[in-house]
Amino acid sequence: MLNKKAFQKLIVWVLLVSLSACTAGSTVNLKADKLQKPVSMTSYIHDSNLKVQNEYSYTTQGSFLIELDRSGHFWNMYNPKKDTDLSEQLNQKMQEANADGIVNLKVEASGGAGAIMNTGIHIFGGFIGLILLFSGDPVSTVVGAGIFAGSQYLPGKVHIKVQGDLIKYK
């Protein structure tokens, strides 16, 4: 069993580690496994005869923007919850515009950790954790330290924008 002094040291180290950091973030895997027409990230694209064409060989039918939100907890910074397949959305955009393909596909990911929710978790999780931490009961102290440390790792959210140009061969 830990004596009082060792126990205090333990508390201080738990505080030192957990108080000094706060982490938020997320990971997203983007793929499109079932595309009906080609989607190029450059302005070059193969036509139906499999010849490479550039912007002088097609007309732009319009542009599109797909927006998605993916959220996750701190462990999702390293492992995404699941892959995000964009096939359906991209096929639908091409179908709607009667396009032969997509060029200049660009992906933008920006984040936000959900400030209000995170602050709530951080403050109230930390508050409850600290009360238990200083309760004097060894079991409650360990539980409190865990809750407190956990409240430092905040949920992350990634906002994804996928944009591109819909084209038709001349």
Partner: protein
């Protein structure tokens, strides 16, 4: 937060004259105060994946190519950027700047793979990671983009 931790350490371990209740209240008060500064670590910087190359680089898998072209190789590459900044009193990372991760490694890998001239990139998948960590008053942001793809070659 680091200063707060040091403060708690000294109060708890060195000053024995006051009761734990006193420190409990003081610690909770300070914790709430410092928690408000945590709002500043809630933002994540944007990352843009944009590939400029004078050949087709196909996102995702279009079956039509697999039937007409042969697989030459598979490629993988990762680019990342980490930035450490001091927290300003009114600073909010989310709105601090426009920021683009340079895809140097990914573009180099694509460039190296595009030989012979009929080769092109197909079935490109992306993994984008965003994270922000606040160590005391220092904020570390990390963005990474990982790419895996197939290189196909013509007849």
């Amino acid at each position: 937060m680091f200063l707060f931790t040091v403060h708690v350490y000294f109060k708890v371990t060195l000053n024995k004259t006051k009761t734990m209740k006193h420190y409990k209240i003081k610690t909770l008060g300070l914790f709430l105060f410092f928690s408000i500064t945590m709002l500043n670590c809630s933002g994540l910087l944007p990352v843009t994946v944009e590939i400029n190359w004078s050949k087709p680089v196909y996102f995702g898998n279009y079956d039509g190519f697999d039937q007409k072209f042969t697989l030459q190789s598979s490629i993988e590459a990762t680019d990342f950027h980490s930035q450490t900044t001091s927290e300003s009193t009114s600073g909010n990372v989310q709105t601090s700047s426009t920021y683009n991760l340079k895809l140097t490694t990914i573009n180099r890998k694509i460039s190296e793979s595009l030989q012979p001239s009929s080769a092109f990139v197909n079935n490109l998948n992306l993994t984008i990671k965003n994270s922000v960590t606040n160590w005391g008053s220092v904020i570390k942001m990390k963005n990474s983009v990982a790419m895996n793809a197939n290189v196909l070659k013509g007849e």
